[in-house]
């Protein structure tokens, strides 16, 4: 749903006539209670069983506890394939999943800018609830703050997540050995290009769509098929390249990938070619890099091919003896070249 459509979509009964968040909504009085009871709690009803608990008492767990937190400040709040609500659930639960945990509980903190449309908030919360339902996590505690106009950009969300560590554990990137195979679970660079193309109003046709999704089904599929996973990681900020670089540093070997084997959609490739970006550096939100023991790449691809969001999983490279460069990529002409590392945000070329 676009921003435009939403602004004409009448929200559920508003606490003020304006249909916008005011500073009073964050001040603990009646307006705040109404914001909770008329907007936040109804939207989250089935995924927030404890209501508006300031603190949650949680069940004992049968294994080690995994805990993570992440803040979401995406702009724009709505983009093709997702929105900040969906991101706030999948981003945090994916961090738990790739650490080897089953995600269980989330906290939810909203920091809302004065003047933010309640209809947009409702829409974000609905999307957030649907994503939590899909992942099987409950929102067990939360907080809402309103800051004066200009002190935030619409809406910021923080979610912290708790999960329980599953057995068997993966060895981790330090244990990567020569010959281990590297996979990606789908076409890369979709989230970064979708957000960028929307924010900058490129009017790309077709516009890239974010891959924003839960990685839990893909991780489960690998476990069920008993694939000897060495390590895996969601390729968020910094993209696939950042993951490979970290792993190379951990294991002291060189990770070599073949550019021609890396799945990239035509839309993403189009935007990247136009802006001079390398999809390997562009952020993903539902695609991970997986390292499996030598000889198990094909079985891993087979297992992933049955997961809707990982149907295009592909083997893209392997772990090699250490060369000078920690990560090398085989480009079109067949020569291995060092994979460069972007300094920070990628900027487009200018001529």
């Amino acid at each position: 749903m676009t921003h435009e459509e939403l602004s004409y979509n009448c929200p559920s009964p508003s606490t003020t006539d304006s249909g916008r968040i005011s500073l009073a909504h964050g001040e603990g009085g009646r307006l705040m209670r109404r914001l909770l009871s008329e907007h936040i709690l109804p939207a989250l009803a089935d995924v927030a069983p404890a209501g508006d608990a300031d603190a949650a008492i949680l069940a004992r767990l049968g294994g080690q506890v995994v805990f993570t937190t992440d803040s979401y400040v995406v702009s724009p709040l709505f983009f093709p394939g997702g929105d900040i609500g969906k991101l706030a659930v999948f981003g945090t639960t994916n961090d738990l999943a790739v650490t080897g945990a089953r995600p269980l509980w989330l906290s939810l903190s909203l920091i809302i800018e004065e003047g933010f449309e309640l209809a947009l908030l409702d829409s974000v919360l609905r999307s957030l609830a649907a994503s939590a339902r899909l992942t099987g996590v409950s929102i067990v505690t939360g907080d809402t703050k309103v800051v004066p106009r200009g002190a935030a950009d619409g809406l910021f969300i923080n979610t912290a997540g708790v999960g329980v560590l599953l057995e068997p554990r993966w060895p981790g990137p330090e244990q990567l050995q020569c010959g281990d195979e590297l996979l990606v679970t789908g076409p890369i660079g979709q989230h970064g290009t979708a957000v960028m193309a929307t924010r900058e109003q490129f009017d790309a046709e077709p516009c890239p769509t974010s891959d924003c999704a839960s990685l839990v089904p893909a991780v489960d599929a690998l476990r069920r098929a008993e694939i000897p996973v060495v390590t895996l990681r969601d390729a968020t900020r910094g993209g696939v390249s950042a993951v490979l670089r970290e792993w190379a540093a951990s294991c002291g070997r060189t990770l070599a990938i073949d550019e021609r084997e890396v799945p990239v959609t035509p839309e993403v490739r189009g935007v990247c070619e136009l802006l001079g970006l390398d999809p390997l550096h562009v952020a993903n939100e539902g695609t991970m890099v997986v390292a499996v023991r030598k000889g198990f790449g094909a079985a891993a691809v087979e297992a992933l091919s049955r997961v809707p969001d990982a149907r295009q999983a592909a083997i893209v490279g392997q772990v090699q003896e250490r060369r000078v460069s920690p990560v090398v990529v085989q480009r079109g002409l067949g020569r291995y070249l060092p994979l460069d590392e972007p300094l920070g945000a990628q900027l487009p070329r200018i001529c």
Binding site: S325, G334, L337, P338, L343, L347, P348, R349, I350
Partner: protein, 364 residues
């Protein structure tokens, strides 16, 4: 993807490499003019493939690299001025001036916006009637037409809060300056295909006539570059200094007359200092007198403090093709993309940045 995949075809590229090696009976020294070409050559390892056959000298065709320090310092000063918003291309924001980059100015409270297109700066001016929007206009012949269009648009909208800090440069005068320098080793040029798309290939004819050096208009993909190199080597081997267009899918002899007219309506040729190369006669463009109201230097005055170049930076030698980036003592030590001494280490088209990103192709 059409127009890309066929120009990245590894089989075609290897065939061209073999052909270049067999045609060249002695080593030749060519200069690729554009920084985009430099990056592509290094990214695909073409320079290494042709070692001992063709020595590729990297030209000054990186617009942010040659933008004078004074202009960057002035842009910085303007961005920090009350009521002024400075807009420019992303790359330009990271180039160090003598008192820091524009991004650092933003951290210091300056108003700095990255834009993808000069028209975005006009839109900023419309949206912010209370701010003076200054577009820092850099670039070669490829970026001047959109800047000219932005001026036209601002004029027709009657915008009084839009102006340009002009640092536009022209590539051909820079080639002339390089060739006339005593230590120039270049035997043939790979001209920038996209510049010729605007200016046309025929403007190189007098240059070839005068200096007796072949100029091959060349694209940016590996197969483009190899075709250009092969053609240039053939011309050299047969002793024929000519202009040849190897980028026919967009470049024409006469270029783009509409864009040329637009540019000459708004701008006129002037002498311009290039960072690292000094003042190049007829090397730049300035606003015509009738568009002075859009000149930020007229509106706000020049920089208050003279610029100081980092002494240990040898970017002038790199830009003139006298040394390869990794021959500079600061390369990769005191000068890295994180802490650049000079512009070529910053830009996505700078030769030093290309070496930093892709060098090591020899010793992976």
């Amino acid at each position: 993807m059409k127009y890309l995949d066929e120009y990245r075809d590894p089989v075609a590229a290897r065939r061209l490499l073999a052909e270049i090696r067999s045609v060249a009976r002695r080593p030749w020294t060519l200069m690729e003019v554009c920084g985009g070409q430099t990056h592509s050559l290094l990214r695909h390892g073409i320079d290494v493939e042709l070692e001992g056959v063709v020595d590729l000298i990297h030209g000054p065709g990186c617009p942010v690299c040659v933008t004078p320090l004074d202009s960057i310092d002035l842009a910085r000063e303007l961005s920090l001025r009350e009521g002024v918003l400075l807009a420019s291309f992303g790359d330009m924001l990271r180039v160090p001036g003598s008192r820091g980059s524009l991004l650092e100015a933003r951290a210091d409270g300056g108003r700095v916006n990255a834009v993808y297109c000069p028209m975005d700066a006009v839109a900023l001016a419309r949206r912010n009637p209370d701010l003076q929007v200054v577009f820092f206009a850099v670039g070669f012949e490829t970026t001047t037409p959109p800047t000219a269009l932005a001026v036209r648009q601002a004029e027709s909208l009657g915008l009084r809060n839009f102006s340009l800090l002009v640092a536009h440069v022209r590539v051909l005068p820079a080639m002339e300056t390089l060739v006339e320098s005593a230590d120039c080793r270049v035997q043939g040029f790979l001209a920038a295909g996209h510049v010729c798309t605007v200016t046309g290939c025929r403007e190189y004819a007098p240059f070839v006539e005068r200096y007796r050096l072949p100029v091959v208009v060349t694209g940016f993909e590996p197969v483009d570059l190899l075709q250009g190199i092969l053609r240039c080597v053939r011309l050299l081997e047969s002793g024929r200094p000519e202009v040849v267009n190897c980028y026919r899918r967009t470049a024409r002899d006469s270029g783009n007359p509409t864009a040329q007219r637009l540019v000459s309506d708004i701008f006129e040729v002037c002498d311009r200092p290039w960072r690292g190369l000094g003042v190049i006669p007829r090397g730049g463009l300035k606003l015509r007198a009738e568009f002075q109201q859009f000149d930020a230097e007229v509106r706000f005055g020049g920089a208050s403090v003279p610029a100081i170049e980092a002494e240990e930076c040898r970017s002038s030698d790199v830009l003139a093709g006298r040394i390869k980036p990794n021959a500079c003592p600061s390369f990769g030590t005191t000068c890295t993309p994180d802490r650049p001494l000079g512009a070529p280490m910053v830009s996505s088209e700078g030769a030093c940045a290309a070496y930093y990103r892709y060098a090591g192709a020899n010793n992976l």
